[in-house]
Amino acid sequence: MTDFEEIYSKHSPQIYRVCMGYFNDADQAKDITQETFISVWKNLDTFRNQSHISTWIFRIATNNCLRALEKSKRVVTTELPLNLPAVHEETQEEKLAFLYQCINELEETERIIISLVLEDLPQAEIAEIVGLTPGNTRVKIHRIKEKLAIKFKTNGQFR
């Protein structure tokens, strides 16, 4: 297995999940994941080890997500209806779909930040990827968690 294949095996699921958090669309997430690894492959020689390779790859992926706004179709965010009745016990897929939908309602940078938090990246690394100060990142993460908590409580989907 080449270096690239190892890197791809290790990081592509993470990148795909982050893209899913951003787009809430499996096809778009797959496309951006592939685009990210094309960039990784092209620039692997120039990667200067100034940061972790994961930081570098997440930067490329999240920049590709942001660049998607340049393409013709706008990233559509859907509003959740208020007070959804919890009529049955949700399956894992339904719970995940609800999580994606909640994340998709956030602002672009918030979607990126919470996806990286859920990938268990340290706050310092998230700050390096997004380009905020560590203090600012901490505050943002706190606010995003609050926003998500409100969404969950309002919709009563997770108990």
Binding site: S12, N43, N63, E107, G131, F152
Partner: protein, 193 residues
């Protein structure tokens, strides 16, 4: 279910099967060529080739009228403007290797503003210079024949009029609307940092 650890567990349960296998991905990336900048590279090559042909004309074609030389120089200038604009654009694309999201959004914003500047200023200057250049360049070859002069100049004027008053405004209108929408969205994201 609403604590972060539960959410992380749920997040990690996402099905990542749709992704290509590593070997398949490797085949895909090897097939990839720089499609995004291919058009720009073609424009640069054509513009530089035209400049070389024009330069060759100046030194070896032995034109007798000064209008031909002036036309030649003006056409070379317009080709160089086109090549330089595209070279700068390709250079910017390559310079952007590893940057934060915030720097990246600023970069796209700058690129789009440059694009608007190109449509409003650079393109107008390049088209004006090449139009005048073309008119002057033809003169030596057609001035001795009145019919040929009328035909060539009429055709040139019609071509330039179509480019100026039909093609350019249409392209500009379409691109400007798209670029302005994009800049609005970029500004919105910039404010989030």
């Amino acid at each position: 279910m609403d604590n972060l650890d539960d959410l992380k567990a749920l997040w990690l349960s996402a099905n990542t099967d749709p992704l290509p296998q590593p070997a398949e991905m490797l085949r895909m990336v090897k097939k990839f060529r720089n499609q995004k900048i291919r058009r720009k590279v073609i424009i640069i090559v054509i513009a530089l080739a035209c400049s070389c042909i024009m330069l060759w004309g100046i030194f070896f074609d032995h034109a007798t009228m000064v209008t031909t030389y002036i036309g030649d120089v003006l056409l070379i200038i317009s080709c160089v403007i086109l090549a330089v604009t595209n070279i700068r654009s390709v250079k910017r694309f390559y310079e952007l290797k590893d940057c934060t999201n915030s720097e990246f959004v600023q970069f796209i914003e700058r690129t789009r503003q440059n694009q608007i500047y190109f449509y409003k200023k650079t393109q107008v200057i390049a088209m004006s210079v090449s139009s005048v250049g073309l008119m002057l360049y033809w003169y030596e070859f057609v001035h001795h024949n009145a019919t040929l002069t009328i035909i060539i100049y009429s055709a040139t004027v019609v071509y330039l009029a179509v480019m100026w008053f039909v093609v350019r405004p249409r392209v500009f209108k379409k691109n400007a609307r798209k670029l302005n929408e994009m800049l609005e969205r970029l500004e919105k994201i910039s404010k989030q940092f």
